[in-house]
Structures are given as C-alpha cells and as structure tokens.
C-alpha cells in the first residue's frame, strides 16, 4: 500500500509539527531549571518524555485514521497526538498546566485526552491496551464504524496486559491494531536485556493474529504495514500486531544522562534522522519540490509557534479547582 502525494505531504507536515513542537517544549522545559535542574520548576514542570525520532510510527499509522477512530498512546505521546489531530493549542496549554489545557491542567503531558479526536494516553506501561480493545468492542457492539489503535513501547510488550489484551482482541476478532514502537530501550534497559525474542512480531502467532515487522524507521513502510492492518480491522478480519523499528533521539526523559547508551549510538541515530530523510525522498520522488518543502516547514513552525504562544498566555487554573471533575 503506497501513500498518495497528499498523504506523503501530510506525513511530512505532521512529522515536522511534532518535531518543532518538541523542540519548543525542550527549550522551554529548561527555563527555570538552570543552573540547578529541578523538575518541579519552570513553565513545564514534571517528567518530560520526548518522541523525537519516532515520528514515522505516528504518521505512518495515523495517516489511515480519521477523528472517529480511537487511539491510545503512552507516556511518550506527542508525535501520536499530533498525527491523530489533537488540538495542538490545548495540548500545549495542558503541558504547561494551564486552565485552557485539554484537561484544565489536571493531566499534563502523560495524560493527554482529546475526546474530539478520540485520543488518550497514560503514564502506566501498557495501560492503554485495554481501552483500545474496549473501544473496538464498543464499535463492534454498536455496529459503528471505526478502528482502535494501541501504541506501546517495545519494553511494554513484556507487561501482562499485552498478553491479555491481544488474546481478547483475537478471540473476539475486534477491529484493533497494536503498534509497538521499538526504540530499543525501556529507560536504560535494552530490548535484548528485557525480551526473550529479538522481534516482537513473532508474538502475534501466540494469538493467531498476523504480525509484521517494519524495519528502518521508515514512514512509508509504516504506512504500508499499518494500512494493511487497518484495512483488515475495518473489514472485520480482526487485529494485527505491528512492530516498528524506530529510535529515540533524546533521553528517556529530559534530564536523562543516557550513560547506558553505547558510545557513538547517538551520533549514528542523528545521522539517520527520519525527517530530513523523508524530505529528501519526497523531493526525489517528485512529491515535493524544495520550495514546497520549505513552505511546509514554515507552516509547521507557525502552527507550533501559535500553540506555544497560546499556552504561554493562558491562565493557570484556580488552585481549588483541583477538587473538581473527580466524578462526571
């Protein structure tokens, strides 16, 4: 399955928005945190997990989805949120802890909820898998269209919830796709140290479902694999497991000294940055010319700037509203 030119441009644009967004977050995150790095300080406090490098996973999958489809993501959610069409301004405001944020500041960066596009994420490993399966079941029971996609990291695959949800989804033949972003690391623990098999796609066989491995952190290859899986799901043929080889260009979270990385790993990763690579490719295959690529880039930056400005300018919530919204 090959993307149209429009889809390729869409993917490029959303990879860029995500990247520029995180570049802004990264800069702002350190405000108030120097000279002494203390997570509690600055306009963006708390843990911050960047997804830069992993954008191909997000756009390759979400290019096949619309707002009605359901996505659950992880503690590293920005790229997927951007690709799923989450309101960038309100997401930025949420990350800043502002009242105009998607959850009025209650959630923060690990708890991005945008019901308008059926996006959510969570700070607990593999926690989003159950809700994705449940959303798929809901569609099946209601006879409503739509698929669900659960994103998870390669480290999350070893959590019990992975096993239980894949079995359930396969048993009930639900319209759901499981997407493993294999960035080789779960914090400081490598895939080899955590996982008894080199590739998780083989685990699909344990549930009688198809499994695919997508090497190379390649958005177009992800697009092809995800397209097939999502078509299968939409057609009522049940779930698929996809593992994508990807990289995280940053640390596990901001402040991570990354001492566990072998020497040279980071340099090699930056040399393979998927965003310039896609730009080159789209120009080569005639999907874009340099000027168009620059224009997309500029537009992405403008979108991000606007979102960040919105978040900066927004008000903090009244402290006592912390007590509200516990129940519906």
């Amino acid at each position: 399955m090959a993307p149209t030119i429009a889809q390729k441009r869409w993917m490029y644009r959303h990879m860029l928005i995500s990247r520029r967004f995180e570049e802004a977050i990264e800069r702002i995150y350190f405000e108030g945190k120097t000279p002494a790095f203390n997570m509690a300080n600055g306009p963006i406090p708390g843990e911050m997990h960047l997804s830069n490098g992993q954008e191909p996973c997000a756009v390759g999958v979400c290019a096949h989805l619309d707002a009605g489809d359901v996505v659950t993501s992880t503690h590293r959610p920005h790229h997927v949120a951007v690709a799923k069409g989450v309101d960038l301004k309100r997401m930025a405001a949420e990350i800043f802890g502002k009242a105009a944020g998607l959850s009025g500041g209650r959630g923060g960066h690990m708890h991005i909820f945008d019901p308008a596009v059926n996006f959510s994420c969570s700070g607990i490993i593999a926690q989003g898998m159950g809700p994705a399966v449940g959303a798929a079941l809901s569609r099946k029971l209601q006879g409503k269209p739509g698929v669900a996609v659960a994103f998870l990291g390669e480290g999350a695959v070893n959590q019990g919830a992975f096993h239980e949800t894949l079995n359930l989804a396969a048993l009930w033949q639900l319209p759901v796709v499981f997407v493993v972003e294999d960035n080789a690391w779960g914090i400081s623990v490598s895939k080899r140290q955590s996982t008894a098999v080199p590739r998780n796609d083989v685990r699909a066989a344990a549930y009688g479902m198809p499994g695919t491995y997508v090497p190379g952190n390649d958005p177009l290859a992800v697009f092809a694999a995800a397209g097939e899986a999502i078509e299968r799901a939409r057609g009522g043929a049940g779930p698929t497991l996809i593992e994508i080889e990807t990289y995280r260009l940053a640390g596990h979270f901001m402040g991570d000294a990354e001492g566990y990385r072998p020497a040279g790993e980071k340099d090699a990763l930056f040399a393979r940055d998927p965003i310039p690579a896609l730009r080159r490719r789209l120009i080569e295959d005639g999907s874009l010319d340099e000027a168009e690529a620059d224009a997309i880039e500029a537009a992405a930056q403008a979108t991000v700037d606007e979102a960040i400005a919105f978040a900066r300018a927004a008000d903090y919530p009244a402290p006592e509203t912390a007590l509200e919204r516990v129940f519906a």
Binding site: Q127, V133, L141, T165, L168, R325, F327
Partner: protein, 342 residues
C-alpha cells in the same frame, strides 16, 4: 429464589435483585452490556447474572478469559466510547491482578480528561467470608477501594437496597464499584443470612448514593456497619434490647460517598459509637468512621468509640479460627460493655 407472599410481596435474594436491576436496565438501554468470568452460561458464580444471557444473548453478556486486566481495561475504553459496561471481578480478593485498570485507569480517566470523557461503568465484585474459603477468597477489602479516589463504592445489606443501588450505579456516569457480600447473596451453598432477602418492588427504582440508612432507631449507642455488618449489628441490637439498652443501627450503604452527617447526628444523640467491619482492622473503615465523628465533635461522646473489625491477619481456613476472627453480635455486645465500663 423468588417467593410470592400473600400480601403481594416479592421477596428477592440480593442475587436476584442485582440480576433484575441489570435486566431492566438492559431492556431500556442498549448500551448496557456485561463482561466477566462465568457470567453467561453459568449465570455468575454467585447467581447475580442468572438469566441474562438467555434474555440478551452472548454479545451483550460475555464470558471472558481469565484476563481481568484486559476486560476491565476494555470496559473503560467501551465506557468512554459510549457504552455502559458492567464487569464482574469474581472475588474482590482477585483485585491484585487488575488493580491498575481499576484505580489508575477506570477511577482516574474522568479527572485526567478534565471531565472530557465519562466512564459509566459498574464493577461488581463479591466480598466476605465465613464459609471457610481461606485467605484468597474471603476478604472484604472495602477500605482498599474506598481509600482511592475516583470510584464510588457501594455495599448493600439487603435485596431492596441492592436493586436500587444497582440501578443507580447503572445510570451513573462515573465508575461504581459494587461490592456484594457472598453471605448475603441468598445462595444457600454460601450459608445465607435470611435478613438480606426482603421485599423488592418489581418496577425499577434507584437509591441515592451517599445516604446511609438508620435501619433501627435507638438512644444509647450507635452501631455503624455495612453489608454483613448490618445484620450482625441488628442481632446485637436485639440482644442489647433484652438488656434494656436501646441501640441505633446505621447501614452505610455506600462508602464513597460517605454519609458522615447521619453518623454524626446519631452519635450526637446516643453518645456512643461502635463500628462493625469485616474488613481488616487497621487503616480501614473502622478508623475512618471513628475519626469522622471525633474530628467533628468530641463533646457528646460518653465513652471511647469501639471497633469490631477483622484482625490484621490473613483469613484462616479452619472454621474455629475463622469464626474466632469474624465480627459477630456477641463481640458487638462486648464492645458495648467495654464502653459501659468506661
């Protein structure tokens, strides 16, 4: 288990009352569906889903694999997507395999989304011992759930309340943990408390959460309990009455929200408080009830509040040991005597 009496009464067991509430709601609301282990063909190990698969079919009444994390997590996703799932955790003792999906997901998604999504789901789970099912099948764990924010917690003591609280739970847009005591279910094989099987109207009705019931009025002591504890309290009240002591008995009905006002009012009147709880003694329900009273007002108290709770030990299998540990009317009467001496 339905008995028709002369006066047009319908005495229902809690099991029946629960199933009836769910069935009535399923008839009018196509979004309600069920997931759990052995809830379809078997009708629930404790009888509370009997008849449902026959009426509503296996799409809406779904037997699951032994995968509590998966199906409870799935319920949260289905609830956010417009359904109103009811899930069963067969014994509350099994919460440890799926508590993340319960307390960190189900209970928090409304808050994390700033109210953007609703999580209308009911988690039913059985509690309680007394029939020698040992330490992984006899716990109550009321406080374990009530302590953690974001879930309403319900524990009926009789079939009338069971039906009304279940219907209310099914209509709530927030998650409700519905804890039913095995010894009250009306399943003979569990040694049922007859007082739990009461007259239940056929039509659908709701009971509000957060309203404790004064199930017996009295002047000399307030006995607060929930589920099986209410029956122990009522029996103790009878015993005390024979000695000329007038006990007021309060059935909490819901732990979250907790009706502190009714308790405080009662203790303000009686001046004495006994809390009966089959959950573990420390860091639990009994401490909370006592603290809720004394932090509000000390002056009316005539004696130190007492608790009759499960000791802080795993639940033993052997009958003499288990019975030694369980709350019972005699222990409540003894607690009163301790206060009388104070």
């Amino acid at each position: 288990m339905t008995e028709q009496t002369g006066r047009n009464e319908r005495r229902l067991t809690i099991a029946r009352a629960m199933a009836e509430a769910v069935a009535q709601e399923m008839r009018i609301d196509p979004r309600v569906f069920l997931m759990g282990e052995d809830i379809a063909t078997l009708g629930g190990v404790f009888g509370n889903t009997r008849g449902l698969v026959e009426e509503f079919g296996p799409e809406r009444v779904r037997d699951t694999p032994i995968s509590e994390t998966a199906f409870i997590g799935a319920a949260v996703g289905a609830a956010a997507d417009g359904m109103r799932p009811v899930v069963e955790l067969m014994f509350v003792d099994f919460f440890g395999v799926c508590m993340d999906a319960i307390y960190n997901l189900m209970a928090k998604n409304i808050y994390f989304s700033g109210g953007g999504i609703k999580v209308p789901m009911v988690l039913m789970t059985s509690t309680g011992g007394g029939y020698s099912d040992a330490g992984q099948h006899s716990q109550c764990l009321y406080a374990t759930f009530a302590h953690l924010p974001g879930m309403k917690v319900v524990a009926p003591s009789n079939a009338y309340d069971a039906k009304g609280l279940m219907t209310a739970a099914l209509r709530d847009d927030s998650p409700v943990v519905y804890m039913f005591h095995k010894g009250l279910q009306g399943m003979g094989w569990l040694g049922t408390e007859p007082g739990a099987t009461v007259d239940v109207p056929e039509t659908s009705y709701t009971l509000p959460f957060g309203q404790a019931a004064v199930v017996r009025e009295g002047r000399d002591v307030t006995i607060v309990g929930l589920a099986m504890g209410v029956h122990n309290a009522l029996k103790a009240a009878d015993d005390l009455a024979r000695r000329g002591v007038s006990a007021e008995v309060i059935d909490l009905r819901t732990l979250v929200p907790l009706d502190r006002d009714t308790i405080r009012r009662s203790v303000a009147k009686t001046g004495r408080l006994i809390v009966v709880d089959e959950d573990y003694h420390s860091f639990g329900v009994s401490g909370e009830i006592i603290a809720s009273v004394v932090e509000h007002d000390l002056r009316g108290l005539k004696a130190p509040p007492q608790r009759v709770a499960y000791p802080d030990v795993p639940i033993p299998f052997s009958r003499p040991m288990e019975q030694f540990c369980l709350p019972n009317p005699a222990k409540i009467v003894q607690a009163f005597d301790r206060m009388a001496q104070a």
